[in-house]
């Protein structure tokens, strides 16, 4: 596994992300990762607060229209995240907090998908527990992501 990550890190693309002085390399990719974070977590915050009973005048069924925006944000972050990962694959794959971040994101996306599916039903039922879980997991992903720069 370590050899695989080392060979990924040695690729021309990884070297470009890591070493290019161009503003379009590391700086722009990292900035896009933050833009995607704002979109993905921002959409989830709106959905989760509504599911927790805030802003009751927003029709719950209308929240479904927000999920395509969340998935667009996720596409930005999957792409930018992969590029950031390959640039430092050996270091990042060796960080426990990186895998904590990935676990939080995977679980949070499963929760979001479950919520989106339930919202398609006429009676989606009580989604409060899922909303709380989602907020906790996204907060966890943010903290773990930040700590990657410090641990």
């Amino acid at each position: 596994m370590t050899e695989l990550f080392a060979s990924i890190e040695g690729s021309a693309l990884a070297a470009w992300v890591r070493e290019s002085p161009s503003i379009w390399a590391y700086a722009t990719i990292l900035t896009l990762h933050t833009v995607g974070l704002a979109i993905v977590v921002g959409v989830n915050v709106v959905v989760d607060l509504r599911l927790l009973g805030r802003a009751p005048r927003i029709p719950v069924a209308s929240l479904r229209a927000l999920f395509p925006i969340m998935w667009a944000g996720f596409a930005i972050n999957l792409t930018s995240g992969l590029l950031l990962f390959i640039a430092d694959a050996t270091t990042k794959s060796g960080q426990r907090v990186f895998w904590v971040k990935l676990a939080c994101i995977t679980l949070a996306l499963l929760v979001a998908r479950t919520v989106a599916t339930r919202l398609r039903h006429d009676h989606p039922g009580n989604l409060r527990a899922l909303a709380v879980t989602s907020l906790v997991l996204w907060a966890g992903a943010i903290v773990a992501g930040r700590l990657m720069a410090y641990l």
């Binding site: 503003i23 590391y26 700086a27 990292l30 900035t31 933050t34 833009v35 974070l37 704002a38 979109i39 977590v41 921002g42 959409v43 989830n44 915050v45 709106v46 607060l49 509504r50 805030r54 802003a55 009751p56 005048r57 927003i58 029709p59 069924a61 209308s62 229209a65 927000l66 996204w138 907060a139 943010i142 903290v143 992501g145 930040r146 700590l147 720069a149 410090y150």
Partner: protein, 165 residues
């Protein structure tokens, strides 16, 4: 513009600045809170902006605004954590042109929101819930959305254009 460097150096020498810089975990803690705050702010404000621009017609404009108190919580969180960063390393921000662009876009977003609240909001609430919106409302939504993402862009680019972090 007055020279802010003497002020920055004074600020950097204060006990508060020393304390911020001597703590190993305060900076990453504040950065994490700053990201949570921006998610609240951009998510909730962006939702209202898109509604003003004519998306999500099933949501009444008044209802789309109901979550705004949480956006203000996010904004407060980011002002507070932003002040921690500024007290910690004032010179690197004052000397960074992206930081000033960020402050400029913050001001634009603020003026735009103030214009909406004082001139448009009451009229908007009187409209049909799913009706088409006046052009001024669409423009306010668009300006808000662009300004907040510009704030985000400038904030993240601080580290690369002018060497702050």
């Amino acid at each position: 513009m007055p020279d802010l460097m003497p002020f920055a150096q004074w600020l950097h020498a204060t006990p508060a600045s020393n304390w911020i810089n001597s703590s190993r975990w305060l900076w990453p803690l504040c950065e994490s809170l700053h990201f949570m705050g921006l998610s609240l702010l951009v998510g909730i404000t962006g939702f209202l902006d898109l509604r003003l621009m004519g998306f999500f017609r099933r949501v009444p404009v008044a209802a789309a605004r109901d979550l705004m108190p949480f956006a203000l919580v996010g904004f407060g969180l980011n002002v507070a954590t932003g002040i921690v960063f500024l007290i910690g390393l004032p010179e690197q921000y004052f000397a960074n042109r992206m930081w000033w662009f960020k402050v400029g876009f913050l001001a634009l977003a603020g003026l735009n929101a103030a214009f909406y609240e004082t001139r448009l909001s009451a009229k908007m609430l009187a409209l049909e819930p799913s009706g088409d919106l006046p052009r001024a409302a669409k423009l306010v939504g668009f300006v808000s959305l662009v300004s907040w993402f510009a704030v985000l862009y400038c904030g993240r680019m601080l580290a690369f254009i002018g060497d702050a972090f």
